[in-house]
């Protein structure tokens, strides 16, 4: 287990998610601590993306609980929109808004949700763009960016609401190989700044280097978890070993 014994940011207990008759997540329990970088690995169809999407309720939860900062976000009484502001999300296919320029993509939520004035949001937006190395692209529309640039803008957009948790759903899977590095670099910097991160990825190198904990999922269960060293160098479960043999 991770040494990190800080505050529990996300508490997941007995999470179940079904799509119709198909049960994708079968009884998942886990605690994610403040400042942890949790990397979720697993074969496709193992439920890892669905798990991630349950953490901000992009998927309706069939059973169990997801508690963020002590508040049960599965409860109907919880204002999910408020909680989503604290949880940034980055998608495999970027999902930038193509009809808005880069800066507007970033300032939309803070301005629209009255978290900042337009000027504040633009100032913050430029800071974030600088952080991801794209300040000269502020007035460009997303279709004119490369994949790696799009994903860095998407990260900046997710950071605009000052979230304290970031979810990454295969952030480099849709990128050309030469662009993977620039996106991982931004993520590493975020991790170094102490952001709580949950990352679904196939980048084993990133997991080894940055993860404080690695979770291996298969068939809707958490099969094995531990430090990168434990999971990659001394896996215990046959399914983990089998998977690692295929990808390493």
């Amino acid at each position: 287990m991770a040494e990190n014994k800080g505050k529990v940011k996300i508490h997941v207990s007995h999470l179940v998610k079904s799509f119709g008759k198909l049960e994708v997540l079968k009884d998942i329990s886990n605690d994610i601590y403040e400042g942890e970088v949790v990397v979720i690995l697993g074969p496709s169809g193992s439920g890892k993306s669905t798990f991630l999407r349950c953490l901000n309720r992009l998927e309706d939860i069939t059973g169990g609980q997801v508690v963020v900062d002590g508040v049960d976000i599965t409860s109907k009484k919880t204002n999910i929109n408020e909680y989503r502001q604290k949880i940034g999300m980055v998608f495999q296919h970027f999902n930038l808004f193509p009809h808005m320029d880069v800066l507007r993509n970033i300032t939309l939520a803070p301005v629209d949700l009255k978290k900042m004035t337009k000027e504040e949001a633009q100032k913050r937006g430029m800071e974030l763009l600088k952080r991801v190395g794209l300040e000269e692209k502020a007035k460009v529309y997303p279709p004119q960016l490369s994949g790696g640039q799009k994903q860095r803008v998407a990260i900046a957009r997710a950071l605009a609401m000052n979230p304290d948790i970031m979810l990454f759903d295969e952030p480099t899977s849709a990128l050309d190989p030469e662009m993977v590095g620039e996106v991982l670099q931004v993520m590493k910097e975020l991790a170094a700044d102490g952001m709580t991160m949950v990352v679904v990825t196939h980048e084993i190198g990133f997991a080894r280097e940055v993860a404080s904990r690695v979770i291996f999922m298969d068939g809707g269960y958490i099969v094995e978890e531990g430090t990168p060293d434990e999971v990659f160098n001394h896996p215990k479960e046959p399914r983990t070993i089998d998977f690692l043999n295929k990808v390493l």
Binding site: E82, R84, Q85, N95, H99, L108, A109, D112
Partner: protein, 224 residues
């Protein structure tokens, strides 16, 4: 031909004005109806979806001429017998507007539904993940993109509706076809009169499609 134009030209022009008036008022309400039922059909709510489906199917399944008679003659008759006193009537303009609005509204609802569904669902997810409520995300992110893809179909539907006003000649609204019938009855010059009417429709519709093309190009400028 010249005789018709000099004698009846102003009358036919006024009739064209009436046609446009009817089309515009019909289209105005059709947009509202289309928006309402289009949105009902994309909501994640079975009852709303069902209401939208029934509306669209019923309107699509009834010929417009039947709808026109139903609204113009049937509805007032029904209301009068219900209230057990006479006197309630709808003007041809009111009935015609309602008829066009319902008919065109149903097709608009389908166009709007398809337009919204054509927007990648990742767009809605990204907006929601930032904390935007559903309607905010719809208005700020999904609809602006949907409208771009909807414009050609909407223009097409406007043109169809403009032509459909001719059906409303049957309820006596003094639009172009109705007026032309009267002109033919007086002059017995079918060929010339109907040729003139055809050209009048053609001109108006061509102008409208050109404007629409321009609009479409302007909206797409600066993208991709």
């Amino acid at each position: 031909m010249v005789k018709i134009i000099t004698n009846y030209g102003p009358l036919l022009l006024r009739a064209m004005q009436q046609t446009l008036l009817l089309a515009m008022s019909g289209l105005f309400f059709a947009c509202i109806i289309g928006m309402i039922f289009g949105l009902l059909s994309v909501l994640k709510n079975r009852v709303c979806n069902l209401i939208a489906t029934i509306f669209v199917d019923v309107i699509r399944g009834v010929p417009m001429i039947v709808l026109a008679y139903f609204i113009y003659l049937g509805v007032p008759a029904g209301i009068n017998s219900l209230l057990e006193k006479g006197g309630f009537t709808l003007s041809a303009l009111q009935a015609g507007t309602a008829c066009l609005a319902l008919n065109c509204g149903a097709y608009m609802a389908e166009i709007i539904r398809a337009g919204i569904q054509s927007v990648d669902k990742g767009q809605m997810e990204a907006a929601r993940s930032l904390g935007l409520p559903y309607w905010r995300a719809m208005v700020r992110v999904v609809l602006p993109q949907a409208i771009r893809t909807m414009i050609p179909s909407i223009v097409n539907q406007f043109i169809i509706t403009l032509k459909d006003t001719s059906i409303l000649s049957v309820i006596g609204f003094p639009e172009l076809v109705n007026t032309a019938k009267n002109v033919v009855a007086k002059t017995f010059m079918s060929l010339q009169t109907w040729a003139i009417v055809a050209v009048m429709y053609l001109i108006v519709i061509t102008i409208l499609s050109k404007i629409a093309k321009m609009l479409e190009r302007r909206l797409n400028r600066g993208r991709e």
